[in-house]
Amino acid sequence: MSVRSICIAALALIAITDRGRAQDACFQRPTPVERLQDVRTHRLVLTDARGRYYVIDGSCFTLDRGQFPGVLYFSLLNSFSKDFAVTSGYVFIKSNRTFSNSPPERLLLSRGDGWFFPSTSGSTALVRMNFEPFSGSIEAWNAAHSNEGDPIALSRRLEVRWHAFAQRDMTSPSTRSLDFWKVDDSFDRTHGVITNYLLRFDVNTSDKVGLIPFQVYLQNAVQQIDLTIYSNVEVFSGQYKFIIQ
């Protein structure tokens, strides 16, 4: 075997092992795609400052702050076959951002359109909430979510009307999985900020790709984002980690 062959083989070996180690170390970048129609097997996409789409096709990624400045524009791809069983869906999202400094808020609440709450006339559509700080403590939040209860009970315990029903007939409450909303013991109470989102959508069975957008703010001090998604449409559920550099 010539020296040249040995060198080529060594380089190939380094390339292969480097790839394996790198994936363990969470350095992977999201995969760019030219069109959303090209996305087949994954559901979460990210849009960069130039409008290019990236597929979140793993569980741990490194993101370049220059490529995604200020805000991470995520979307869930809402595109299903005509015979898909579910027609109305909801998504619960919990984002845990770790900052290098200590921001004033610990817990923010966000809710999109299409959520309902009981009223004297039957039900009322709630207005959207955009990243409103929860005035209570993390302990109070967890205590409120420790016992079973519907959105009415939770709104009393939390003293904020955030939990709601995804259907006008008061079904599909956001309280159906209270453990999901509890703040984990591992939460960094000095550097962490949790943002909870409630999103509702109609399942899209048309030929066009529908999007369920949500945003995660990326201040300069944000170092890591842990994203947990739960939905009654199973393919949307997942856990992701993003290291910001």
Partner: protein, 140 residues
């Protein structure tokens, strides 16, 4: 289409013979088919299709298009690389950034894929024709 450069060729003819439309078209078709079939997972297949075509290029230019001059064949191969990066920049970024050393390759490929094809077709090819064209002719 790639073909031997001859002494009586006009400047336009010479430049057109430095742009490998045939292999570029083949790669374009292959890329479209792979993306259609594999969606966001097509990056690796597209990249290795490019490498395969690149390996075949010298033989194709030499034996099929009869471009029997090393300079012209090398230039045609380089031209294919430039156009291929432009055609499949998204897939190349998707595949190469899996490697730790190339994790930040995206920005460079974006710039190359945008700027280099124009420079290559309108400037570098003309420089090549003027600088090396006569040597290519003598080699026929």
């Amino acid at each position: 289409m790639a073909a031997p450069i001859r002494a009586h060729d006009s400047a336009e003819d010479r430049i057109s013979k430095l742009l490998p439309a045939d292999v570029t078209a083949a790669f374009l078709s292959a890329k479209a088919g792979l993306v259609q079939a594999l969606g966001e997972n097509a990056a690796e297949a597209v990249f290795w299709t490019f490498i395969s075509i690149l390996i075949l290029c010298p033989f194709y230019f030499w034996f099929v298009t009869k471009a029997k001059n090393y300079f012209q064949v090398a230039f045609l191969c380089l031209t294919f690389v430039v156009f291929a990066i432009s055609i499949a920049d998204t897939q190349f970024i998707g595949y190469l950034q899996q490697y730790r050393l190339l994790a930040n390759v995206g920005g460079s490929i974006n710039v190359i894929s945008t700027v280099l094809p124009i420079l290559w077709a309108f400037l570098i090819s003309r420089i090549f024709v003027e600088a090396i064209g006569s040597r290519v002719e003598r080699g026929q």
